[in-house]
Each structure stands twice: as C-alpha cells, then as structure tokens.
Point group: none
DNA sequence: GCTCCAGTCGAACAATCGTTCAGATAGACT
DNA sequence: AGTCTATCTGAACGATTGTTCGACTGGAGC
C-alpha cells in the first residue's frame, strides 16, 4: 500500500479533538488536522473508521463517535516504545473507564475522601471513592456509614459484641455504633489523580 | 414576548439528542425537532443558549455542548447533608470519569500494576495506572521506566550519584540504572476496583 | 524486474450549511 | 386601549458541506 496503516494515529487525533471540544470536526478540518490535502482521503478514512466501529453517522449525516471510540487499551505490559501499531498487538483488553468503574450510574455516587483514616488500605486524602448506594454490605467491605449524622468511610467488621467500623490506620480507634448501623453505600472503586 | 420562555424545554430536547448520538444536529434538524419552521428561529435560539453558556462553537463553527449543557436539575435528590457537595466538586468540571482522568487520550495508556513495590504510596497489586506517555518527568513523579528491557513503576528520585528509581516499599531496594534512564511515561492517575 | 492495491490527491458537483433581513405574532406592560 | 419586545416566519444569500471519479504514489509480494 502507499502508506503503512496510520489509522490508529488518525483515530488518536480525533479522540483528542473530541475530548477537547465534544464534537467531531468537518472533513476539511480533519484533513487539515491529519495532514491530508484532499477531502476524499478523509472520506475514505471515515469509511474505514466507520467500518471498524469507531464512528458512525447520525440520521442527519453528521459524524458521531460510538462507544468504542472511547475505549482504552489496557496493557499488562507497557509496550516497547515504538510504533503505535505495535501497541495494538499487545493490547490485552479494551474498556471504557466509565463503564469499568460505574456499571450502575443511577445508584453510584462519587465522594471525595477526607483524612487518612484509611491510608493503610491505600485510600488517601483527596482520593475519590466510587460508592454504590445500598444498605446491605458484607464484612470486609469498605462502606460509607452514617454515624451520629456524620458520613464516614470505614471497613465493615464484626466481633462478638456486634458490628463495628474499622479504620485502616493504627492510630485510629474502631467505631462502635451505639444503635443500629446505617449504611449509606458500599465503596466499589477508587479514583486518584496526580497533578 | 410572543411565547413564554421555552428555551428550557428546547435545551432538554437537545440534551436528549446529544445523549443519544453524542453529536448536535444541524439548524435545520433542530428546527424540525423543536417544531420551528425557520432556521432563523433556530439561529436565535442558538444565540440565546450560547449566551447562557450551554453550548458553544468549535473553531470550525460546529455546535458543541459545554459543561453546563450536562447540568441536571438537582431538585430531585435531596441527598443527606454532607454528601451532595462532595459528589459535585469531586470531579469539578469534568463530565465523566474518563474525561477527568484522561485529557489526552492518544498519549494515555492504562497499565495494570503488578507487585507491591509501591504499596506505601497506596498503589496496590492489580490497580490500574493511568500513564501519560512522555520521556520527561520531574523528581517525585511516579514513572514507568525501562530498565534492562523491563518495565517498572517507581518514583523518580535523585541523589549525588544521579537518578534512581525509588520503590515505595521498605522491603525493596532502589534501582540505580547502569546507563541512561529511559522513561516510558508518567503516572497521572490511578483506578482501583473492589469486587 | 513487475504487478497489485490501499491510500491519497485534485477537481467538479449538487446539497446543505448558517446568516441575514423585513415582516408577522402574541404575551406583558402601562 | 395601545405599545413593547422577544420570538418566530419566510425567503434569499454566499459559503461550506460530503460525495464522486479518474489519476498518481509507493510498499508488498510474486
């Protein structure tokens, strides 16, 4: 062929564009962006990407990304620094971050973690906890519980006296609810961002 | 005025459309959708919504939703005091977890963490590291480096002898690269899922 | 060497784009 | 009542859209 397959690189630029503007550009602008001089080249590219399932046409013939457009490759080993094509081969799995973390959006809440009472479980101050709202939990689950009208993230435990909320930090004492234990939700994921 | 203000209703339909197609339609289709017979009415509406900050124009004059476009009435859920604010400010101005963690999709890779050499930094075996591919890093950054052809996640440090890769686990020894240090990428985020 | 052929170029095309403007409509105000 | 004023209509406009087609390019593979 005239060129090695650069569609992956092209797709990447489109993903960057969409993540910035939440909209896909026109063929002319795509061409400019990708260094193509003719719209017919873009047209062919769009056809290829559509076939591959990354983009689609709305009923009124506008470009729109599909779900696959947002998939990321999850590599067990990072790939040798080299061609983007190589990165494809080593892709062990593809997933969208949102779907991975939040399978049930309507009952899921994000809560910013405060304090270091859970630091030995690798949950730091400022992290974001992905919490699924429900009232039932298993022992060992990290739960958001309501104690004296306050919300607190602890590990659910139990001893001969009953349920208790266990911090993951030796400097903190377990909390034993005076009355029934009210659980707001169960922590199902963690998000952290380094700046 | 000729009509009560129906912009809210119009906005709602645009939101529905976007959530279905991930793209905003042309003026003609908007008019059809909203029951407007003339594109100039749509043009005026777009001007109003732009002014109100719900939509904007990309550099190539395409309609694109803004963050405010995705705001929802929060009247429905009187969430117990303390939490709702946390959920909202947790991701500040990002619409999705994906967007929050991955501003530049094409240079970002997800890598599954193996081993517990970084456990004191709250990075556990099985966690997913969000890695931005680049060769430059700052001291203190957690980097994926290439040492003897192997990829390893460590904290970048430096002493009088030069750069070294510092594990975050007292039981591991620092790695001092024999030759130049090659950096594959910088860890910018962390994702963990509890099952 | 030679042929393939996916990818790109360049130009021409009708269709659709969003803008503009003058005029009609109808609720809100005095 | 009459006047305002924001909204919508309808038509005309040049600009831009995406499609199409024939020709060119340069690795891959015989």
């Amino acid at each position: 062929m005239g060129n090695p397959n650069r569609d992956n690189e092209y797709l990447g630029k489109l993903q960057d564009y969409f993540s910035q503007y939440r909209s896909l550009p026109s063929y002319a602008v795509i061409g400019e962006m990708l260094g193509m001089a003719s719209k017919s080249a873009v047209s062919a590219l769009v056809k290829r990407l559509t076939l591959a399932g990354y983009i689609e046409m709305t009923p009124d013939r506008r470009l729109a990304p599909t779900k696959r457009f947002f998939e990321r490759e999850l590599a067990d080993f990072p790939v040798p620094a080299g061609l983007p094509a190589a990165a494809n081969d080593a892709m062990s799995d593809a997933l969208t971050v949102d779907e991975y973390l939040i399978p049930r959006p309507s009952t899921t809440v994000l809560v910013r973690v405060k304090g270091d009472s859970m630091i030995e479980a690798g949950i730091h101050d400022g992290d974001i906890a992905v919490v699924e709202k429900r009232h039932a939990a298993n022992l060992g689950d990290k739960v958001i519980a309501i104690v004296d009208g306050e919300y607190t993230l602890k590990t659910l435990a139990k001893d001969k006296l009953g349920f208790l909320l266990q911090p993951e930090n030796a400097e903190y004492a377990p909390i034993r609810p005076r009355e029934g234990l009210e659980i707001y939700g169960v922590m199902v994921g963690l998000i952290r961002k380094y700046r």
